[in-house]
Symmetry: C2
Subunit: 253 residues, 2 copies
């Protein structure tokens, strides 16, 4: 903290520009407003366009700007708090759940998923695809992997895929006694199909939340959920769905 | 999932290259190995250097590659699981805590922090700086904001700053009864001082974890912790410090 330490750190030019731009956003622009084009901005701040672009990328990373094809660069609204963990553990698809079912199919999962679920490398598992909306915007896409051994009664169901089948998989899963769950969050880039669901380009930064659901002493289901990193902050803990409003990191810079 | 859906999505060229490169990393390179230079790689895969760079950026985002000045691009080891939330809530600085104290000072916090702590805009608060190491590598830098009203007995202490003062602030804080805590995770870019602590350049992607500690019916302390997004996956939930080994997102792409 403090200016002394800051001054001892060599700051790249784009970093200084980012700070200046950030202040300009606060004082001169409102949410949703379109920024001047890169050439005009570069001229105004007396920097090369490459430097400007780096600074804009930083601000996009921090959720201050949104860049959309055909629209340009706009001032982003504050990130939305999305609850991803609460004290109460629950199976996917239970009442308080914010997810919408898309479809379900029986497929061979990626090797890492098979390892986590302790299924054979060539075994098919149920893959339920869900999406999550907040304020009418898609915020997350999820693949839920359920080994056939977790839902042994499901074989009687006729529908080969679709929402009805997805619902049936979750209903069967909920019969098991949930013993616990844990989650991990990491930075990733959106796969092509997730990107489409999230209204982003493939490769956009996302927060990947991997959740293991434990039942019968093993991992009974595994969820890989991809959240838009530009619009979401993920909340964990006591307050559940309560949004944390302050964004100290943004203003501390 | 499935090739049908994937094929219906237009894939940018760098995205396809990323997939090809990712497979090459799996089959031809080992962790820590230095990649050929950009010119050679671009020639090998028959792409423009701009396309190659975009693909390398994606792989860096996903934690597969590390780019370091003076070394070049190396194959990254798997991300390290770092526990950031457990079922047991605890004040910062208690026994099981993985943080090292750096220093402490009395300063005016950023406006958003002041709002969260309900201190006046010009009021100084105790700011404790800590760092977190895993396997000898710095993984996180933290600023812990503690209003003076949370540690009323502290005024008697002489040391104006430094580790001893930081320890005293935490000791006083631990006298309060912790009523609960919650956390939020979002994508950010490293501030200059955090970047230095984390051995990264300013602006590097980081995961920012904001934790509120509740006592006496209000927010008694606020932590803003900045984790390296390239090397960390943050774990929450039952298993506490247990690392989640699989990385489904990486291999699902």
């Amino acid at each position: 903290m403090g200016t002394t330490q800051l001054e001892s750190v060599p700051e790249p030019k784009y970093w200084h520009l980012k700070t200046v731009l950030s202040e300009a956003l606060d004082s001169e622009f409102s949410v949703g407003e379109i920024l001047p084009n890169e050439r005009d901005l570069a001229a105004r701040f007396g920097v090369a366009r490459a430097t400007l672009r780096q600074a804009l990328e930083q601000l996009e990373l921090e959720g201050r700007l949104q860049r959309r094809r055909g629209v340009g660069t706009t001032v982003a609204p504050p990130r939305v708090g999305v609850a991803v963990g609460t004290e109460q553990h629950a199976w996917p698809g239970t009442a308080t759940d914010a997810w919408q079912l898309a479809d379900s199919a029986l497929e061979v999962p990626p090797a890492a998923v098979a390892a986590a679920l302790e299924t054979g490398a060539e075994d098919t598992v149920h893959i339920v695809r869900r999406s999550r909306m907040t304020h009418g915007q898609p915020v997350a896409a999820e693949l839920l992997y359920v080994p056939q051994s977790s839902v042994p009664e499901l074989s009687a169901i006729d529908a080969p895929s679709g929402t009805a089948r997805a619902r049936a998989v979750l209903r069967e899963l909920q019969r098991l006694e949930l013993e616990g769950q844990d989650s991990a969050v990491e930075l990733g880039s959106a796969r092509a199909d997730d990107a489409k669901q999230l209204d982003r380009l493939p490769g956009a930064p996302v927060l990947v939340v991997t959740t293991r659901f434990f039942a019968g002493g093993r991992t009974a289901a595994l969820s890989v959920a991809t959240y838009r990193a530009d619009t979401c902050r993920l909340t964990f803990g006591d307050s559940g769905g309560v949004e944390i409003h302050q964004q100290p990191e943004r203003q501390a810079s």
